[in-house]
Structure formats: structure tokens, C-alpha cells
């Protein structure tokens, strides 16, 4: 037996190393995905019996105006959350100097990412609050009449996205700071001798070298935008009257919240959200595969 192992260990070893990780992952991630898809074909309140209803949940979803509101909000999140990428880059460039204490500054700028999103949501809720919130008072000062962002169905999603951008920009900033550390100094010197500076330098010399950092930054930002549950839950609970709802929150509302006893319907929403994310995930995987096979 041990000779078999000695002879074949190079072939068998990877599977040995992979086994525990793959097992956990399969049980807790891969299989549940299929289970959720299965549940979406049932009508189940989570307490009693599940009743098979086929695709009825999906049919209902198509006619559900709340679904479209959530979907629209997810799209808004997707596009605006990407502002974190250039914003993070700009702050990284701003901090990429060697003055005294810059390391402390870099760490402190990263702070928002280290705090729980629950706390971020709470503090921004108070900032927007009508009557006493600084941002509300600011709108009152500028426009004459105060705007309570979280009470207005036109602006509420944007208000929540702004809150989410705060920690996300910090995250992207760190990614770019480390990326900037890896920029080849000789290329920069050569370009500088050629007279490149400012925006031209950034666009033609620096950004191409930052491509891996940009890729990761976009990936985590897109995933974060589609996942945005914590902030919506804390700041508005989907309100006012459902106008800031996103798919991840809608699913939770339908399946597990105080007034939500519809597990099957919630699962259907989750499957749709999963489908949307698979589009992006496949895109990323494809890009990674291309990079891998090019090597």
C-alpha cells in the first residue's frame, strides 16, 4: 500500500489536498444552489408542507411590479457603484507620496472598510435625517428647501449608494495603492524624460500597468453592488414603500422577514439574481481563463 502511494503520490496528492476544501464547498455552496432552484418550484411557508406548483412562482414574478423596481435598482447600483473604481484610484494617487506619516494616513483612509456595514448605514441615515442631519441641512442651505433623501423615492437609492461608496472606495484605494507600488519605475522615468506628464502619463503609462488591480477592483465592486443587502436593510428596509428595494433584499423579505412566509417565491427571486450574477461571473471567469492559458 505504501509503495503504491510512493509510486503514485504525485498523481494522488492533489486530490488529497483538495478533498476537505472541496467537500465543505460542495456541501455548503454548490449543492445549496441546486436546492434553491428546486425549492423555487414549490409553494412553501417554511413551517408546514411544501406544495409543488411548477413554474408558477416565475410566472408571478414576471407580473410583479416590485420585482421590476428591485431589478431597476440593482442596475442603478451596478453602474453607480463602479464610481468607486476611479474614485479609489484618485485617492490612491493622492496618497502615493513619501511624506512623513503617510503610512498612518493610508491606514486611516482605509478605516471605513474595516467597520461593519451596519454602522455605516446607521451613521449615513442620521446624516440624511430631516431636521437635524448635516446633509439635509446642507440641501436646505443650498436649495432653500431641505430634501430628506431617504424619504424621497426619487433619490433614496442614490443616497444608499453614496453610503455604500464610502467603504468601497477605501477598498479600491488599497488595491490601487499596492498596484502603484508595483509600477515599473524605469518605464515612468523613461516616459518622463520623453516629456509625458499629468493625464497623458496616467493614461498611457500607468493605467496599463494597473490592469490587474483594475480587474480585481471591478470584480469586487460589481459583486458588492449586486450583493448590497446590509445597507438597504439598515437604512430603509426597502422603503419608502419599496422604492429602494433590491433583489437581494426582496428575496429575504419574501422568505424570512416578519411578514414574509413565502420560501418558494423567495427562492425564485434568488434564482433570478443568481442568473444575473452568473452573466458577470462567466465574464470574469472567461477573462481569467484567457489570462491563464496565455501564460
Amino acid at each position: 500500500m505504501s509503495t503504491y502511494w510512493k509510486a503514485n503520490q504525485r498523481r494522488l496528492a492533489p486530490w488529497l489536498f483538495l478533498a476537505p476544501g472541496m467537500a465543505m464547498f460542495a456541501i455548503y455552496v454548490i449543492i445549496p444552489i441546486f436546492q434553491s432552484m428546486w425549492i423555487s418550484f414549490y409553494d412553501w411557508d417554511g413551517l408546514g408542507d411544501a406544495v409543488w406548483i411548477g413554474t408558477a412562482n416565475y410566472v408571478e414574478l414576471v407580473d410583479d411590479p416590485e420585482f421590476y423596481t428591485s431589478f431597476k435598482n440593482n442596475l442603478i447600483w451596478l453602474f453607480l457603484y463602479l464610481l468607486a473604481v476611479p474614485a479609489g484610484l484618485l485617492i490612491a494617487i493622492f496618497l502615493n507620496q513619501n511624506v512623513r506619516g503617510i503610512r498612518l494616513y493610508k491606514s486611516l483612509f482605509f478605516f471605513p472598510f474595516v467597520i461593519s456595514q451596519v454602522v455605516v448605514g446607521l451613521i449615513f441615515t442620521w446624516f440624511y435625517a430631516p431636521g437635524f442631519g448635516p446633509i439635509y441641512l446642507l440641501t436646505e442651505w443650498i436649495f432653500g428647501q431641505g430634501t430628506a433623501i431617504l424619504a424621497d423615492d426619487r433619490y433614496v437609492t442614490y443616497g444608499i449608494i453614496a453610503a455604500g461608496l464610502w467603504p468601497q472606495i477605501a477598498y479600491v484605494m488599497i488595491l490601487y495603492l499596492t498596484g502603484l507600488n508595483n509600477v515599473a519605475p524605469d518605464q515612468v522615468e523613461a516616459a518622463r524624460l520623453d516629456g509625458a506628464k499629468g493625464w497623458r502619463m496616467l493614461w498611457y503609462v500607468i493605467l496599463p500597468q494597473l490592469r490587474p488591480a483594475t480587474f480585481i477592483a471591478v470584480v469586487v465592486t460589481v459583486i458588492g453592488a449586486l450583493r448590497s443587502f446590509d445597507l438597504v436593510s439598515i437604512m430603509t428596509a426597502g422603503g419608502p414603500y419599496g422604492s429602494s428595494r433590491v433583489l437581494s433584499y426582496y428575496m429575504y423579505e419574501q422568505a424570512l422577514s416578519e411578514y414574509g412566509y413565502r420560501m418558494g417565491y423567495g427562492a425564485a427571486i434568488a434564482v433570478v439574481l443568481f442568473g444575473i450574477m452568473m452573466v458577470f461571473i462567466s465574464g470574469f471567469i472567461w477573462k481569467m481563463w484567457r489570462d491563464e492559458t496565455e501564460r
Binding site: 431617504l150 424619504a151 414603500y241 411578514y259 412566509y261
Partner: protein, 415 residues
């Protein structure tokens, strides 16, 4: 001796209990609850009294936090069921009753004459003729107002019997002239708006109609529903702007500061008003104004209840406990500590709390008691309804679209 489970302490206590021969003679009652600190203290006292009256029984209370309990109950009713559990009445208990997870306790009601003593709360504990729990407290809803704000606007301060609707609306005009919000509310959590709707509905069309509406028997596009909203539209312009971003406590702060005059709220808010600095001198209470003249006056009185899960092991002692909690004297003592109202009509309230006295008056002389929209209507309808009420208060011009949407939810929610 009340045992309060708290992590390691519980383990030690359990070990001590199991090794003590004396303790082994006692029968154990497991009780899961979600009390805030003050009610918790009140209940610990009640449990001590129960154990004194029933020395062979030991009640072990496990207390959850209020929000976590709402999810926890869905778990523990199936896995690790206690003998007693807190919950609410009306349609809030329906999912569990229909799934067979709460036990029928009609025998406790029979044996202790509760159908008479707890008459006003009986309907909300009954599904298909059987009772599924025992109510131990409720609290009144009504209009709390800032007397100083009334004086600042030059309006006569109302007494507890309130004013009629036309007077109320006229007063709103005067408040507006004095730059005070006539009515304030904070609908971020949605339910405060439902309180206003319920009263509009009860006062415009009456108790039976309102119950039919929440039971799904009336279409939301019906003219009578529009009548309710038409009345509501009269005060809508005088409601605090941006209430959709306010928690109910923030709106309470407005009333404390005198920036708002009236607040449709439950009696639990009094603690909050007083913490902000209001006193019995400037805080007033009145019943909601009469809108349609001649309608018998119904009130909102959300009820807190105790149930026996179907998976309970010690059913006999649990029923003893329920009977104990329903007793008049026990309820008097309990509710004095809770600052709420006993559901037993033979109980009494402390005479020095003007709000409890007014509330007791209001509820005992009420024609009937509603449970609050999110307990009278099934969950899905409740959620959609409350969102609709919030939207109406922000954008009254959307009424047609709102009613259409509620009607389509009604078609699905009442299967």
C-alpha cells in the same frame, strides 16, 4: 426562584440542579419570551408568584431580544419546543395555528370562565371557534398631543373625550398658520402609518366593515375604501413632511419640541415623551375623533399573548400557568408594572397614571377592539397595505394606482 438562562451561568445552574435531589422533585416549565427590560422584571415577579402558588413547578425563562425572537420562533417551534412561548394575537398567530404549531387551549378558557373575563380580547384569540393562547396585556392607541403647542396656536386644549373630525381638521389649519405640524408620524418602519389608517377606517365605516376589509372580503377599489382615503386626504397636507425617513421616535422628538401637535400612537410612547421632557401637565391624550356620526366607537388595542407550542412536554403545568396569567389580580399587578392595561375586565388600573386611566376608560367602554392592521390582516396583505398607506401620505395623487395594487395583492394573499 426564577432561573434566567445566561450562557455559562445556565450550564452551572443546570449542573447544580441535576445533582440536587431536592431540585429533582420539581416539574420544569420552559418559557421562551422576548421581553424588554421593564416587562422582563415584571414577569420575573409574576413567575415568582406563580412558583409560590405552585411549589412543585419550576419555571425556566429564556429571554430573547425582540427582533431576534421573530426569527427564532420559526426555528424553535419545530426543533426545540418550549412549553410556553410569547407571541401576538389575530392574524399574526394564524401561520403557526394553521401549521398546527400552537395548541388549542379552549379548555383553559372554558374551565376558568375566560370567555367572560377576557371578553374584549376573545375574538382575536379565536380561530374557527377555538382559542389558541391567553392574552395578558394590551395598550390603547389614540391621539397624544402637546398642550403647549395647542396654546401656542391659540386653540382650545381638548379633553380625553376628544373633538369631532371637523373641529380637528379646522384646528389643523390653525396649526399650519402657527408653523406647527398638526399631525406627526414616523413611517420608516411602516406600522405607525397603519395606525392612522385603522382609525380612519374604523371611524368612517365602522368596526364590522374594517374587520371585513382586513379579512379580505372587501375590494380595495370599493367606494367605501375611497371614502376612508377621502377623509384621510383632509389631514394629509398637515402631516410632517419627510415622515418616510423618520423613525417613530424621531417624530416623537418633534412633538416633544413643540414642532408638532398631535401624534396617533400607542401608550408605550408615553415613556419616550417623558424622557424627552414632557410631563403630565403638557402631555395630553384623547380618543380619535368621530368622523361618521353615530358609529359605535371601536378602538385599537394590540394584544400580547402567551401560547403553548404543540411540541410542549409539560402541557398540564403550562395550562396552569396560562390560567394564572389570566387571573384578574395577577393581571392588575402585572400591568401596573408594565404601565399597560389588563385584558381581564375585573382587574384595576393605578389611579395616578392619567394615561392608563384614560386608556382603561377608552377600551372598557369601546364597542369592539381591533388588533392593528399588521395583526388583523395576513402577512402579505399587511406588508403591501402598510406600504400603500405610506405612499398615500407622501403622494396622495397616486391613490388609484395604490388601490389597484392592493386589490391585486388581496387576490393572492387570502387563499
Amino acid at each position: 426562584m426564577v432561573h434566567l438562562k445566561k450562557g455559562a451561568l445556565a450550564l452551572t445552574a443546570a449542573l447544580l440542579m441535576s445533582t440536587s435531589a431536592y431540585a429533582q422533585d420539581k416539574r420544569v416549565l420552559n418559557y421562551y419570551a422576548d421581553f424588554d427590560p421593564i416587562p422582563l422584571a415584571a414577569f420575573e415577579a409574576l413567575i415568582t408568584d406563580f412558583e409560590t402558588a405552585n411549589p412543585e413547578v419550576d419555571v425556566v425563562l429564556q429571554n430573547f431580544d425582540h427582533e431576534g425572537y421573530k426569527t427564532a420562533i420559526r426555528n424553535f417551534l419545530t426543533t426545540d419546543s418550549p412549553d410556553l412561548a410569547n407571541w401576538y394575537a389575530g392574524n399574526r398567530m394564524a401561520p403557526f395555528v394553521n401549521a398546527g404549531q400552537f395548541q388549542d387551549v379552549s379548555d383553559v378558557w372554558e374551565a376558568n370562565g375566560l370567555s367572560d373575563a377576557l371578553a374584549s380580547a376573545k375574538a382575536s384569540m379565536t380561530i374557527e371557534g377555538k382559542q389558541y393562547g391567553v392574552p395578558y396585556t394590551y395598550y390603547q392607541w389614540g391621539i397624544y398631543f402637546n398642550k403647549d403647542a395647542y396654546k401656542a396656536a391659540g386653540i382650545e386644549v381638548p379633553g380625553p373625550e376628544g373633538v369631532n373630525w371637523d373641529t380637528f381638521v379646522a384646528n389643523c389649519e390653525k396649526f399650519k398658520a402657527a408653523n406647527i405640524d398638526c399631525l406627526t408620524t414616523g413611517t420608516k418602519a411602516l406600522w405607525p402609518g397603519a395606525g392612522i389608517f385603522d382609525y380612519m377606517s374604523l371611524r368612517t365605516n365602522g368596526y364590522e366593515w374594517h374587520m371585513d376589509l382586513t379579512a379580505g372580503k372587501i375590494a380595495w377599489t370599493d367606494q367605501k375604501v375611497r371614502d376612508v382615503f377621502a377623509q384621510w386626504a383632509k389631514v394629509q397636507p398637515y402631516i410632517t413632511a419627510n415622515h418616510a425617513a423618520l423613525e417613530w421616535e424621531d417624530a416623537a422628538a418633534l412633538m416633544v419640541q413643540g414642532k408638532a401637535a398631535n401624534y396617533v400612537m400607542g401608550n408605550f410612547a408615553v415613556g419616550n415623551f417623558k424622557q424627552g421632557g414632557m410631563t403630565n401637565d403638557n402631555l395630553g391624550f384623547m380618543v380619535f375623533p368621530e368622523i361618521t356620526p353615530g358609529l359605535p366607537r371601536a378602538e385599537e388595542a394590540p394584544t400580547d399573548t402567551i401560547h403553548i407550542p404543540s411540541g410542549a412536554k409539560n402541557v398540564d403545568d403550562a395550562k396552569l400557568f396560562l390560567a394564572f396569567v389570566a387571573d384578574a389580580a395577577v393581571q392588575t399587578k402585572l400591568n401596573a408594572a408594565l404601565s399597560q392595561l389588563p385584558t381581564n375586565k375585573n382587574s384595576t388600573v393605578p389611579a395616578d397614571d392619567p394615561f392608563l386611566v384614560a386608556g382603561f376608560e377608552s377600551l372598557s367602554s369601546a364597542y369592539a377592539l381591533a388588533q392593528f392592521f399588521d395583526r388583523d390582516a395576513p402577512a402579505e396583505m399587511a406588508k403591501a397595505g402598510m406600504e400603500g398607506f405610506q405612499e398615500f401620505m407622501v403622494k396622495p395623487e397616486n391613490l388609484d394606482a395604490i388601490l389597484e395594487r392592493l386589490e391585486s395583492v388581496r387576490a393572492k394573499a387570502y387563499e
